[in-house]
């Protein structure tokens, strides 16, 4: 007997729509296999990454004439829907409360270990506080890009590491500039996220909403 399937056709849709549609389908359930169709390599990557956070196995990935087909199997033993909802809340659930804190979908660019100029201790304290408030936000950013002194936040011994890890657990992609890690000789100490390069970082900064600190 073949598995009950459902298809999400997200071809032609820009990010983050494919992930949002996948999340909705997973929350609705009623199938054993979810087929997601996208036509953009970064959408494919985002859906596959999201599947990991939503406790879905990726059964197959194929490409045919520019269409990527991703076959997901939710793990029935784990609560896929609430986890998925936390990672990418449906747009209609955002900003319900007046003044609700949401960084939903944004890219946060951090190029220093602190916020602003002035006293260094205060700058570091503000950065730490800011990252904590992001962990408490209803909608988390899509990614955090760390550059120059910002990479120090993601290495062993940083007092912001705990908050960056919490954000990563909620599905936030943490990218650290490889040149910067190498310059400060911190590459081996990177404790959360992954190493990125200027081409990827420049591309990401130029697309979508970016908050620069």
């Amino acid at each position: 007997m073949s598995d009950i399937r459902k298809t999400v056709d997200a071809r032609g849709l820009a990010c983050p729509q494919p992930v949002i549609l996948t999340r909705k389908a997973l929350a609705e359930g009623g199938f054993e296999l979810l087929e997601v169709l996208v036509d953009d390599p970064s959408s494919r990557e985002n859906v596959v990454r999201f599947a990991g956070f939503a406790h879905c196995g990726v059964e197959a990935e194929t490409e045919d004439g520019g269409t990527f087909r991703i076959l997901l199997r939710p793990d029935a033993g784990l609560p896929a829907a609430p986890e998925a909802a936390r990672v990418a809340p449906a747009p209609e659930t955002l900003e319900k409360a007046p003044g609700a804190l949401s960084a939903q979908g944004a890219t946060v660019f951090i190029a220093s270990g602190g916020i602003g100029t002035g006293d260094e201790q205060l700058a570091a304290l503000l950065m730490r506080g800011f990252l904590y408030t992001l962990t408490e936000a209803e909608g988390v950013p899509r990614r955090i890009i760390l550059m120059n002194g910002g990479v120090r936040l993601a290495v062993e011994g940083s007092d912001s590491l705990v908050n960056l890890r919490r954000l990563a657990e909620r599905g936030v992609e943490i990218l650290a500039c490889g040149t910067c890690l190498e310059f400060y000789q911190l590459r081996e100490q990177l404790a959360v996220g992954r190493v990125s390069n200027l081409y990827e970082i420049a591309g990401l900064l130029l697309q979508g909403r970016t908050l620069s600190l």
Partner: protein
């Protein structure tokens, strides 16, 4: 049980964090939740520990020595499992 401990200044909160961490008592320095105070500031988030226990007493002594002002208990309401958009809600009550 978790407590929010406020201080007269961010300097005092930082000093208290150093003192407690130095004594092996885990605390976290966080911005003061806006339900407690609307102006900017930092406070400590700490496990209250067992009342009367060694670490609990030591924590209280150190907090007192660092000029701790108020203590607030963190009340967490679990999300409704039937609603995927529901999330954990935190509120705060003066303690003790």
């Amino acid at each position: 049980m978790r407590l929010i401990v406020t201080f007269p200044s961010s300097h005092a909160a930082l000093a208290a964090e150093r003192a407690l961490l130095g004594a092996g008592l885990p605390v976290e320095l966080i911005p003061v939740p806006r339900q407690i105070r609307s102006d900017c500031g930092f406070c400590l988030l700490a496990d209250a520990g067992e009342p009367g226990s060694g670490p609990g007493r030591r924590r209280l002594q150190l907090l007192g020595a660092c000029g701790a002002r108020e203590q607030w208990q963190v009340i967490e309401t679990e999300p409704d499992p039937s609603s995927p958009s529901s999330r954990k809600v935190k509120s705060y009550e003066r303690y003790p």
